[in-house]
Symmetry: C2
């Protein structure tokens, strides 16, 4: 997801507020992401927040939609489908683990308030975006390989993508739960990729 900054546009008050809100959510949690805290972090008064957003829910939903860093990097890993299948899947898994590790807390937080969850889902559906896009992109990646004969004809690509992406998703989750015996990220990514490859040929 591109920020206005990376598009080279003017960075307005709205962007400063969104950045500040994202920071507060990441560091103190959604429960402590109050209008007071966000305003203080942004260097503006609370009243200014309400000039740029109709209310708190709209602000938070905007943060969720416009401040999900790392997705571009993940997409780049999937554009590269010339490499060996296992190598490519390892790169995808590594990027996916990093992406989900960064974004899991913010993503999970929206479940704490049904009104935010509903607004967020509605907003995503309108523009056709959402977390399932990662799975769909992996399916496309696998289809390219299948067309070149690297993957067997009758393989269930949907299930395979679900296994790989889901494993990365849960690995990131377990990382936040401080599971000490968990494998390091790179090792886990390689293992997931190797097993997925084994299932596909």
């Amino acid at each position: 997801m591109l920020t206005n900054l990376s598009r080279g546009q003017h960075v307005g008050t709205r962007d400063v507020i969104l950045d500040a809100a994202a920071t507060v959510i990441r560091t103190r949690g959604m429960a402590n992401a109050t209008t007071r805290e966000i305003a203080k972090a942004a260097g503006y008064s609370e009243a200014t927040l309400y000039k740029h957003f109709t209310g708190k829910v709209e602000l938070l939903v905007a943060v969720l939609r416009e401040r999900s860093p790392g997705f571009a990097h993940l997409a780049r890993a999937m554009g590269d489908d010339d490499a060996d299948l296992t190598t490519g899947l390892t790169a995808i898994a590594t990027a996916a683990i990093a992406f989900y590790t960064d974004n899991f807390p913010m993503l999970a937080s929206i479940f704490s308030d049904p009104s935010i969850l509903a607004a967020h889902n509605a907003g995503l559906r309108e523009v056709g975006a959402g977390p399932h896009r990662v799975n769909e992109a992996v399916v496309d990646y696998l289809r390219h390989h299948q067309e070149r004969g690297t993957i067997r004809r009758d393989a269930d690509l949907y299930a395979a993508a679900g296994l790989l992406v889901g494993a990365c998703f849960q690995h990131a989750f377990l990382g936040h739960m401080n599971w000490s015996d968990r494998r390091p990220d790179r090792e886990a990514a390689a293992g997931f990729a190797a097993m997925t490859t084994a299932a596909l040929r």
Copy 2:
């Protein structure tokens, strides 16, 4: 996780409060799970809550640890390792999807408040419990099959368990995000199990 009810013990005030809190969290979200709401749902005054728990965090953490229904059913699916591998994994995947679908909102909610997350993790570590236990149990299940020769000797069981359980975990998550093109639970479970089996032989 057994409740006092299923152990046949007396159902005291504490249990009533925990049940009420779990209901409020599930229906209104963690953000709206106030002491007022919980007390009203339990049929007791707020003051009574504070006679049974030192504070709100302790109450919520107790709910998370003692009100995770369906885990027993999931465990049962894994005890049955006499069946064909794909059949067994399908049963496990089906139970896992149901389990995560039920518990994801409550589990995800704890990320909204770092103090609750920390207290929850500390509590789990003390008794050696946690979400990773599901993965470990699947590894054990796979090892039994490996010892009987149903799975190849050099298979990475840890990665395989991560793929299957992770896929179910994320499938449940996507379900809550209202992804319309998502496969039905049973179909998804069968697909995940079949692909995992393919990777293991």
